[in-house]
């Protein structure tokens, strides 16, 4: 049963496009083959607007808006790829790289990493912000999985998939600011978690090599995501 949904027309990068009124700019852009980068967003999870890569310019709005949470409006005029936006996106990617220790060459997700491939796609050939080199732990206490905080970008996809899809809420974020970190339960080793069902969803939604399966060598960890749209669809069907 679907209530009648109205259609809106808007202009994205000088192209006229139509959209359902309940759609976000990001959805409409992707439907229309307009590339918008994003690292925290993943179809099927609640959008949080945290990675700021999907910021777009909307005419009449003083501030840049995150496409992942901005609803379409009639007559909206949107620019998704101005020089200014491209510059900000490159700078933001550089901030991610400078925050922790992303050493692609020795990462099990090398070649399958969303951060790495976005950097290439957006033309980041070096990081001109000083690297921070924090000292961060690697937790390999779980039987099957590893969390390497050096590679974590705090996108919170793991937190959301665990809460919203698996229903375990094993993951959350502790601390704040530059000291924030994802944790399991009361910040105990993952292997000792009382709530983790070992379903592995967190591993497969993780955009980088922060959450990986054990026993993988460099460049061997490719993530499988097909389950997410599937599970979301099945849930909708149930209602």
């Amino acid at each position: 049963m679907r209530q009648s949904v109205r259609v809106k027309t808007l202009k994205i990068d000088d192209r006229d496009v139509g959209a359902r009124e309940d759609q976000t700019l990001l959805e409409v852009c992707r439907e229309n083959g307009i590339f918008i980068p994003a690292l925290c967003h993943l179809d099927g999870l609640t959008p949080v607007g945290a990675c700021r890569l999907c910021l777009v310019e909307v005419k009449g709005q003083r501030r840049l808006l995150p496409a992942c949470v901005t609803r379409v409006e009639e007559g909206m005029e949107v620019n998704t790829a101005t020089e200014r936006l491209k510059k900000y996106r490159r700078q933001i990617l550089e901030l991610f790289f400078s925050e922790r220790n992303h050493i692609c060459s020795v990462c099990v997700s090398n070649g399958h990493c969303e951060l790495q491939s976005l950097a290439q796609q957006l033309g980041v050939d070096h990081v001109h912000f000083p690297y921070r080199y924090p000292r961060l732990p690697v937790d390999a206490s779980h039987d099957r999985f590893v969390i390497d905080h050096n590679r974590c970008i705090l996108c919170t996809r793991c937190v959301r998939v665990c809460d919203e899809i698996e229903g375990a809420h094993t993951w959350d974020v502790m601390g704040r600011g530059i000291n924030a970190r994802v944790i399991t339960d009361l910040n105990k080793p993952w292997g000792e978690s009382e709530s983790c069902t070992s379903c592995g969803k967190c591993v497969h939604v993780c955009p980088t090599g922060a959450l990986v399966e054990k026993g993988r060598s460099v460049a061997e960890m490719a993530k499988r995501r097909q389950f997410l749209p599937y599970l979301t669809l099945m849930r909708e069907g149930k209602q």
Binding site: D163, R176, I183, L186
Partner: protein, 172 residues
């Protein structure tokens, strides 16, 4: 509707749990009572230990990681037991302009503690606060809950030495 959910009982006979229970009950044991409940735990026990976090999580039915996330997000909460005495140095703008930094460094030099730390003998916890709202009396320092204004490094050290030496004599 489930009826078989038994409310967990407090970790110990300690009467202070009743205060915690009262807060949770007042809010209908709803998840949004988490911060208020943690306040009561800290007020009653001085800090939040694992046992308390587990208990509050169980009663309010909030995931453990959520509780830990909240407890570490807010600077007012501490997961470590405080020292015998606490000294809070205000580092609000007015106090900063009037020399709060030199007070902190004097304490660091004399007692070997930085803000957020407790001396090895457990006598003194040093904290810094983001504005106590006593800007007119800058720089302000709180000694065991008592706000004192217009402080200098030497006055502060004097108060602190009062604690440490008096306590030392008391046990001797």
């Amino acid at each position: 509707m489930r009826t078989d959910f038994v409310n967990p009982s407090p970790p110990s006979e300690d009467k202070r749990w009743r205060l915690v229970d009262a807060t949770m009950r007042r809010h209908g044991r709803q998840s949004h009572a988490l911060i208020e409940s943690l306040h009561t735990v800290q007020e009653s026990f001085g800090y939040l230990d694992e046992e308390a976090l587990r208990y509050v999580a169980a009663v309010l039915r909030v995931p453990l990681s959520h509780v830990y996330g909240v407890a570490t997000f807010y600077h007012f909460f501490t997961l470590k037991p405080p020292g015998e005495h606490t000294c809070v140095v205000c580092t609000g703008t007015a106090c900063y302009i009037k020399g709060a930094a030199s007070i902190l460094s004097a304490i660091a030099q004399a007692e070997g503690v930085k803000p957020g730390e407790t001396t090895k003998d457990g006598k003194l916890s040093l904290l810094s606060a983001r504005c106590l709202g006593s800007c007119g009396l800058a720089p302000a320092v709180v000694f065991d809950g008592e706000v004192v204004g217009k402080m200098t490094p030497s006055l502060v050290l004097e108060r602190i030495r009062g604690w440490t030496s008096r306590d030392g004599r008391g046990t001797a």
